[in-house]
């Protein structure tokens, strides 16, 4: 295979700070984000030749976004595989840039889930907004009252059954995210919570409590990805794409053990491409739709053995300001559990990993010490039915 390591770099980022924007359109949030991310890179509209976007609400998202931005991209990709879509986009942009088809790609996303009153986790079949079920797989599933949280809760239930994982261990993930959110002025929820608060709170779908579930917000952002030649002349130190991998996990015609998630498949090519191992990762952005998502993902990315995820996340180990020598900071922006989650959160993983690799928080508790290599893993869809997994390993010079 062609060596893609260092084949492209993230050179510009912007996170739209809104958590509630009832008077904006989704395309406006994307437009504002693209403009500011290009300014961050020191690039302009004429430099962009690739457009990458995903949406669960904008029809024909690639076409309509090009129209709104009044641009004529040479390369368009609106791969939509749920929350992990943007790790897939980064992977595809890397390939398109390394092949010489484009020089500068923008990846962008927005959603108005909160102001639109979308019940992302508990909306049931209503979340699709149409009454007619597809012949398959919907017609064999939605009759039974599936919810997004339920499909993750079933994996949590079996994790507890097989490995004695506890609600307290899952709660540790939410506590760490809230700790990080307290360091992020833009985060939706910033007040500290304890394990005890969480295990005593309302159960949404057993065994998951309300704080085991991500928040629902509006929001959006953009990432600019460029060829090495362009990247070296941008405003910030390039954040290189070192390795990528993508995968889909599904029911395997009724035979797959879905306790193993897509991360199991996607991380191996990413680590192989990057030429690094788990020990080399300084921090990770792990999609945290639910606390169980983090536990399962850490296991299947190979940061611990299967079944040891509950133990791994305990004792404050995920917290960036932990005193532990073996700490492993994740989601230093507060994650989906406390900062923001407009529905497909994968783009925010790339944004925070880039900030960390730029050492943007130097001198504050949010900065990961000597951050050289970060891993992002986006999960989209539902762990218990079918989902995507996109792994991206990023590094600085």
């Amino acid at each position: 295979m062609v060596d893609l390591k260092h084949g492209a770099a993230i050179v510009g980022i912007h996170e739209h700070v809104t958590r509630y924007a009832p008077d904006k359109s989704e395309l406006q949030i994307q437009g504002e984000s693209v403009i500011k991310a290009l300014a961050d890179a020191g690039l302009s509209k004429k430099d962009v030749d690739g457009l990458f976007t995903a949406s669960s609400s904008i029809r024909n998202s690639g076409m309509n976004l090009a129209d709104y931005l009044n641009m004529y991209p040479k390369y368009v990709d609106n791969t939509t595989v749920g929350g992990g879509s943007f790790e897939f986009h980064l992977s595809h942009a890397l390939t398109a840039i390394a092949a010489g088809r484009i020089n500068v790609a923008v990846i962008t996303y927005s959603s108005l889930a909160r102001s639109g009153g979308v019940s992302v986790g508990t909306g049931g079949v209503g979340r699709y907004g149409h009454p007619r079920l597809d012949p398959s797989p919907d017609s064999f599933e939605e009759l039974y009252g599936l919810t997004t949280v339920g499909l993750y809760a079933m994996i949590a239930q079996r994790h507890m059954h097989l490995y004695d994982t506890t609600s307290e261990q899952l709660a540790e993930v939410a506590v760490a995210m809230r700790r990080h959110a307290s360091m992020n002025p833009e985060a939706l929820f910033r007040d500290p919570v304890t394990v005890e608060d969480i295990v005593n709170s309302r159960v949404i779908s057993s065994p998951l409590h309300l704080p085991d579930c991500c928040v629902i917000t509006d929001g959006g952002g953009a990432v600019v990805v460029a060829s090495p030649e362009v990247a070296r002349n941008c405003r910030h130190t390039p954040v290189w794409v070192l390795g990528v991998g993508e995968a889909i996990a599904h029911q395997g015609a009724g035979k797959r053990d879905l306790m193993y998630i897509a991360a199991k498949q996607s991380h191996e090519p990413a680590f192989a491409m990057a030429g690094v191992t788990q020990k080399d990762i300084d921090m990770a952005m792990i999609y945290d739709s639910f606390t169980i998502t983090v536990v399962e993902t850490l296991e299947d990315l190979g940061f611990c053995e299967k079944g040891e995820g509950g133990q791994f996340v305990s004792g404050g180990r995920l917290q960036v300001d932990s005193e532990r020598t073996d700490k492993f900071p994740i989601n230093t922006d507060g994650g989906g559990l406390s900062s923001n989650h407009p529905g497909m959160r994968g783009i925010f993983l790339l944004l925070e990993a880039t900030r960390q690799l730029r050492h943007q928080f130097e001198g504050t508790p949010r900065q990961v010490d000597n951050c050289q290599i970060a891993l992002c893993h986006g999960t989209g869809g539902s762990l218990g039915a079918r989902h995507s997994g996109g792994t991206a390993i990023l590094g600085r010079d």
Binding site: S139, V149, S206, K255
Partner: protein, 141 residues
Amino acid sequence: MTTRQEWNKPLPTVVGETRPYWESCRRGELLIQRCEKCGEYQFYPRGICANCWSDDSIRWVQASGKGTVWTYTVTYQNRTPGFAEDVPYVLAVVELEEGVKMFTNIVDCNPREVTIGMPVEVTFVRATDQITVPYFKPSSQ
């Protein structure tokens, strides 16, 4: 088989490749598929063998209707009409004796008594004149 008045849950969309499944449910039988070439069972039903990618070897076979709870969740919140009034209900994945897993609800029991590994058997509820839905309940044996 029980009949529910005024069905307000979603109904399946039936097409050629899935029609025998829904027709058998209406008769109170659970049919699954097996490939004549590779011998693998599969669920949900489809017009091809998802294992060996043969397009002319899928056969319908009667399942025993018995299985075990592979995992489950007691759902306390679902805003969809038809389910909103059913909470708490048990959403589950059941592994059939034939080795394939399917989504279902565990019915006819206290939701808090469901456990992983619990033996269950199929039971049917008539939704409309055309559609009958298979569920699972604790095994009678």
